[in-house]
Amino acid sequence: MERDGTLLDDYVLSLVDAARPRVCFLPTASGDADHYVVRFYRRFSPGCEASHVSLFRRDQGTGGVEDDLATHLLSQDLIYVGGGNVLSMLGAWRAHGLDAILRKAWRRGIVLCGPSAGSLCWFEQALSAFHGDPRPVRGLGLLPYSNCVHYDAEPARRAEYHRAVADGMRGGFAADDGVALHFRGTRLEHVVSSRPDGSAYEVQSHGGKVAEKRLEVRYLGAPAPVKPERAGSALGCAAHTPARAAQEPVAA
């Protein structure tokens, strides 16, 4: 949901094999911010069966979803997780059993995606900036790597991620704003970008020495020579769009 374009949203919708996809938004990481929910419906309701789940307004019957949460989420084609604070989000998810539901959704082939905190959460470990210094956070662990987002947006991020990996965080993937890592199963299949200059990297430690490898990125704005294959296989498919638009809640 970048403000200046729909390239990443169009890409993730192209992964779903449905004429009118069922898309559910989880704005937990923003504290279920109203403006974010509105932005989601503006973007997705024209072409999709759009819904959202609020974990803060369930008492007022305005949680977005009337059904049982598991039933609702497991009937989606795409689950879109918004940005914000990844620790707060994971805490609230655990309290409502959403962590288990999302693991099940992934195994069933429902496409999972999200920017920022909505990217970090799928990995085994994530680098997240708190009050003070960034530190590693344990995610849902669907993807056996670490993840770092906003790699270009904050000058210290690269050094912090390298240091964390040198200190024992597992190797993984870093993405600039506007760049999405698309995993099929646990394998990185495509790296796509809504910005011509967006980059992504694989960062590994070899005997305490950190190496960064630049990944091939396909700019989605150029005429696309390859149409991404459809999902819907028995394998889970997690697409990640670690992109942050100017006024989206900032990860961390």
């Binding site: 923003s30 504290g31 911010a33 974990l55 008492d59 914000g84 620790l87 809640p249």
Partner: protein
Amino acid sequence: MSRPPIVRIEDRSILAMGGGGFTMEPNNPLLDDYVLSLTRRTEPRILFLPTASGDTSAQINSFKARFAHRTCVAEHVSLFRMRETPRPLEELIFEQDIIYVGGGSMRNLLAIWQAHGLDKLLIEAWKSGIVLAGLSAGAMCWFGAGVTRSSGPPEVLAGLGLLEGSLTVHADGEPERLPVWLAAVRSGELPGGWALDDGVGLLFRGKHLERTVSSRPGAGAQRVDAIAGELVRTRLEPELLLGEGPSKALGGLDEAVEELRRVHRLRRGMGRGRN
């Protein structure tokens, strides 16, 4: 950083409100002024935790509107937009005199605090004599258990357990909680405890209930225990607050507060630019 020393149990304070204060009573400052009066500081530092609401701007703005012109240093901490407070939580918590917790989802509140390690910091804050105050979810969280509607229908949920017994809130405003609580106390699922109307606050010193206060005439509270499977209900008569403390000085308050802040800023050498 060094932690403040542990104080005697009778010097630890919690004000648990069934509802009321700046988020629910925008035109009635009695409970909030009472909160400020609970420390001996002339200009207490008060920190608002809006976690249970998802850090809504509405709660944060109400907090600012209520406390900005009172004799205190007021700030909030967001666990969703942490760049608003880019300081370690530990540092922020232990420099406070009062920590005020807003209402919302008790389940989310406790889970998010735990994810950030804030539950442990708040227990330490209480032990060091920092006053804890809160309404609704922000009141029940200090007890052994409360009755929450975090998932829709009312249900029992364990709290941090600083105070013994259970608490249910909004006894008048959201009456559907009360039967769930009474049934849980009767069956022994929950220990006995208190049911509070909106506008009523229980002041605990240590684990001992010291005062029952109210911002509204007619608001009530009851203590309920199960004895041999039967509920024994005792009505408490809250003392109606009369605006003791800061609100008495309403005329010219802003100017006096500003003067005091100027002096404090000078004394702190501008500190960290809090204002």
